[in-house]
């Protein structure tokens, strides 16, 4: 499904980029740059970071606690004696893992349920709609805390912390994918081509996957980016409250901010700002990317901007 989306986007993007206003182009470029930097840090972290995420000493002995930024430690060290720059870079890897885990756990069940429920309808459909309404409004962070206690007693390794955050983000995002896909499925299944497929004897499963699903996933990319942001923020919130991933299992920005609370009170800024900026820039990148893609795909939002000429084929590629 993701492949379908990727194949569909580029030609649209090229068209829109020419017609889009300066602001939209700036948003898209900023989003792309921030996301690329994030992916780079996540994938090449071990090469970029001067030290390991749980490293306390090197050839010159212990790093020392709460050291000011210096040549040896460009962003200083934490109260526990970790190198701040290294942990901030390594944190990107943990953030990427939580995005992937939360997306898989949310998209797959949400889309499948929306597809089957919307296509078949009836009593089970109504039950699922009610269930989705009940779950989607609850703050994921609260469930994440409860789950982290269940999974690992609140002292998580990498897998436990990721699992707790990913599961609880899924609890509030499965209903969102479900709603969006279901609404689209109900619209699409009334189209003549679905009837045509049914008339020539195509089975329901094949109709659902080949005909309905492919035409029902247009609006998903925006939810992907919100979902990804929410995953990062939930894991960070969990870490900040002290129920997240332990420092020797992985570097996690929320945990580092939790340890920085006391530092802030004594005026130490370098342990709080780098991990915080890590979160802000990552979420900013994905959000900008998601919003500019939506803007570019929505013909109604393109007009009236900066005197740019209307898109010549604006009317043809809406569907």
């Amino acid at each position: 499904m993701a492949l379908v989306l990727v194949r569909r986007l580029p030609p649209r993007l090229r068209l829109r980029l020419r017609a889009g206003a300066g602001v939209q182009r700036a948003m898209l470029v900023t989003g792309l740059v921030l996301t690329a930097l994030f992916l780079l840090a996540a994938l090449l972290g071990p090469l970029l970071a001067p030290h390991g995420y749980a490293q306390l000493s090197d050839g010159g002995g212990l790093f020392g606690s709460q050291q000011h930024p210096s040549g040896a430690h460009p962003l200083g060290t934490t109260i526990a004696g970790y190198d701040v720059l290294s942990r901030t870079i390594w944190g990107a890897r943990t953030a990427l893992l939580i995005i992937v885990a939360a997306l898989i756990l949310s998209v797959v069940p949400g889309t499948l349920l929306g597809l089957v429920s919307g296509y078949l309808g009836g009593r089970p459909d109504r039950l699922l709609v009610g269930l989705a309404d009940a779950l989607y409004a609850f703050p994921p962070l609260l469930l994440a805390i409860v789950m982290s206690i269940v999974i690992s007693g609140g002292r998580s390794g990498l897998a436990g912390g990721l699992g707790a955050a990913a599961c609880s983000v899924a609890v509030s995002f499965v209903p969102q994918y479900f709603r969006v896909v279901r609404a689209e499925v109900i619209r699409v299944k009334a189209e003549p081509f679905v009837d045509a497929a049914r008339v020539i004897g195509t089975g329901p499963w094949r109709i659902m996957t080949r005909h309905v699903l492919r035409n029902s996933v247009r609006t998903l990319p925006l939810i992907f980016t919100i979902n990804a942001s929410e995953a990062i923020l939930t894991l960070a919130g969990l870490g900040f409250l002290g129920f997240g991933i332990e420092p020797n299992s992985a570097a996690e920005w929320g945990y580092d901010l939790n340890r920085a609370v006391a530092d802030v009170t004594s005026g130490i800024w370098w342990t709080a700002i780098p991990p915080g900026l890590g979160i802000v820039l990552t979420v900013l990148g994905t959000t900008l990317l998601g919003e500019s893609l939506t803007d570019l795909a929505d013909p109604r939002l393109r007009r009236r901007s900066g005197g740019s000429a209307p898109d010549p084929d604006g009317g043809t590629d809406d569907d």
């Binding site: 206003a21 602001v23 700036a26 009610g130 269930l131 309404d133 009940a134 779950l135 409004a137 609850f138 703050p139 994921p140 962070l141 609260l142 469930l143 805390i145 409860v146 789950m147 206690i149 269940v150 007693g153 609140g154 942001s229 923020l233 960070a236 919130g237 900040f240 409250l241 002290g242 129920f243 929320g254 901010l257 920085a260 609370v261 802030v264 009170t265 004594s266 005026g267 800024w269 709080a272 700002i273 915080g276 979160i279 802000v280 979420v283 900013l284 959000t287 900008l288 919003e291 009236r304 901007s305 900066g306």
Partner: protein, 360 residues
Amino acid sequence: MSTSTQETPGAVAAPADGAAGYGLARYLVVRFLLIIPTVLILVSLVFFLMRLTGDPISTAFGDRLTPDQLHAKLHQAGYDRPLLTQYLDYLRSLATGDFGRTVTDNQPVTHVLATYGAATVELACYALLVALVVGVPLGMVAAAHRDRAPDAVLRLFAILTYATPVFFVGLLLKLVFAIGLGWLPSSGRASTNVQLFLQNQTSTTGVYLIDALRSGDTTAVTDVLRHAVLPAVALGLLVAGVLLRLVRTNLIGTLSTDYVDAARSRGVAPLRLVTHHAARPALIPVVTVLGLQVAGLLGGAVLTETTFEWKGLGYELAHYLTARDFPAVQGIVALFAVVVAVTNFLVDVVAALIDPRVRY
């Protein structure tokens, strides 16, 4: 909406007018009944999740009691019965408003909820105020300057308020305004002496601002307000961004209607066009969206209260979780679930009263 048709819902050929009234009543009843499964699902989810780790007493004191003592305590509290019996028992006592007692400090959970709930409500009100004062005017500015520089800047601001975790905003505010400039206190709800003074008043509400105003002591009022500024801004900005975008989108919608065009053609100034002509219809949905933000506000409150040591329900939730006090945790989460479900219900009621198309 004649009452006669409501009394005879089975009437075959109800007049169109009566059918609409019946539809609204039916919608409200169905919607009200939906609160029950919503709360039930969340409460059950939390109950079974927490029980997966063991019974409340073993998890809280397991390593400090002898097996005999533990067994006696378990039996006394009824935790050696089948899980399903305990679950039904728990639901029954919840329905009668009995939330049980905390394990670690043995006080009624309802007492905890009442004491610390006031602090959270106070913080949430300040935050909503900040959100309204920041979000609505800025949304109007953005709509009035649509697609020009101010709009772009405000859009970035709105995205930033979403992208920045509330605890990072809190830490930055503390770093600048409490530590760096020394203008405001960095944590707590009031200074120690003011706190003692307020708790010794004859009748207290738990909402410090009200208690301070009642005492008539101006130093207490200023102290309480000074403590509230940073947490309120941190939590309020979270909602302000959502409001800003909503007001902008709605205003742009109403600004393109015929009656606003008519006003524009009469030469009404752009800003007056926004404030006097387009604002009112655009602000109605804001009420409902504000209600939907309550869930986000509760999640944010847990983080804000921890950042600023604001002793409310969120702060206590983190504290009781660390102590593995399950009855307390379940009580707080159940209360949050009820608050979220009830506000969502109220939002739907308001939406249905405003817009007939919403009803079933």
